[in-house]
Subunit: 271 residues, 2 copies
Amino acid sequence: MSDPRPIGVFDSGMGGLTVMRALMARLPSESFVYLGDTARLPYGTKSADTVRRYALQAAQALVARDVKTVVIACNTASMSLPALREALAPLPVIGVIEPGAEAALAAAPDGPVGVIATEGTVKGGAYRAAIRAAGGETVPIAQQACPLFVPIAEEGLVNGPIVEAAIRRYLDPLLATVPKPKALLLGCTHYPVLKTEIAKVAGPDVTLVDSAITAANAVAKLVDERDIASNAAVRSIRFLATDAPDRFANVGEIFLGQPIDPGLVELVDLQ
Amino acid sequence: MSDPRPIGVFDSGMGGLTVMRALMARLPSESFVYLGDTARLPYGTKSADTVRRYALQAAQALVARDVKTVVIACNTASMSLPALREALAPLPVIGVIEPGAEAALAAAPDGPVGVIATEGTVKGGAYRAAIRAAGGETVPIAQQACPLFVPIAEEGLVNGPIVEAAIRRYLDPLLATVPKPKALLLGCTHYPVLKTEIAKVAGPDVTLVDSAITAANAVAKLVDERDIASNAAVRSIRFLATDAPDRFANVGEIFLGQPIDPGLVELVDLQ
């Protein structure tokens, strides 16, 4: 049996396109509809209440497009996962936090694990809780908020003096913690585009864990287990943005790793 | 006659506190109520329609607090000045664009004038139009969007390698234009906190024009002309934020140049 309904992917903006990219590669027969809440980004500096309200509105817009599952491709919004699962049940909802935490533990079973993320994600402590819940009860965890990584990535900067200075600003104190992290979790969907430079500063003895890839693996497993995979020969890819669809197509290319046809980006109002 | 009603000041976030700071210094007997739309910042990457809608909601929230004039301390939102003036009439509304354009022409009557601002302000062309309207019909104008300045300033960075690399990224091409600008207009309320480092890169032959100071002068003139000045011995200062009032108090200190008591920051909902 084939379920041709699309998989819904949600992010505060364009960073979640790194998850979309991993999903498209991992699940070549699946259709996708991606919603970026570009009118209200960034979520990383917003309160938990506001993020929850925004995430619910976005998830409901995807449900209205008949998706078979919702992927919260936004670390900050993943904090609202319990509320989203309750609101959308029985539709399955997958976040990026749990798969990332599991992958970090697989890379460094006894830790230490370093987590770099937005201010909101770090303060919310979701990765810490997920690592504990996944069996890492005694694993040392060091967290570091990196507020400049998102605007730097959205400017299309992936190397050069600004990127290097920003990475050093955040990673130097984190790597100087005793004991030094063995695994470094990229806890924001924007960060994979900076992965090469982050790896240079972190050095070869630190394993980088990309939560976009680990989330894609989790979705593949879910689709298989629930028997809702599609075997369509041709899939559809659509994008929804709450503001500036042209800019979405333009900047989004950095994160999706391929050009986005502006004609495929629809402007939607969530309010 | 004394008019003790407060002056309303509006910005997308905390950058407008540089205007507030200039206003408080220029008008020591006036009370102020400042509204930062922190839930929906930044405005710089949003469409003109969205910015107009948000600015109207914010201005109406200030009117509900019985202000005697509204200062749009946000360059991006100043583009919506005609719509705001129409909606709030007969209440006077002042933006930062016109005073800044006039000051730039005063500093370099024949130009060239350089304008640095957010992506939205540069694309909207408001400074170009205001310089033309203020008598600079033939003055050469060069514009440069500086998207990283706002997140850098909001991180509290005012010097160091990231600041220097970012200033060079944006100013080097602008200063290399032929002819080189004689006046450089800081067309975003966040930029005054980077003024010292910007001046170092621009060099002594470029006059920096700070639109916070020029806007404060314009408000002082208006209050005087309309005979709505206050002669109160004790004034009140209040802050409204649409999200994360604690963060507002914390980060706002950078821009206001003095500590903000978190108890003075009220959370408001504009929707």
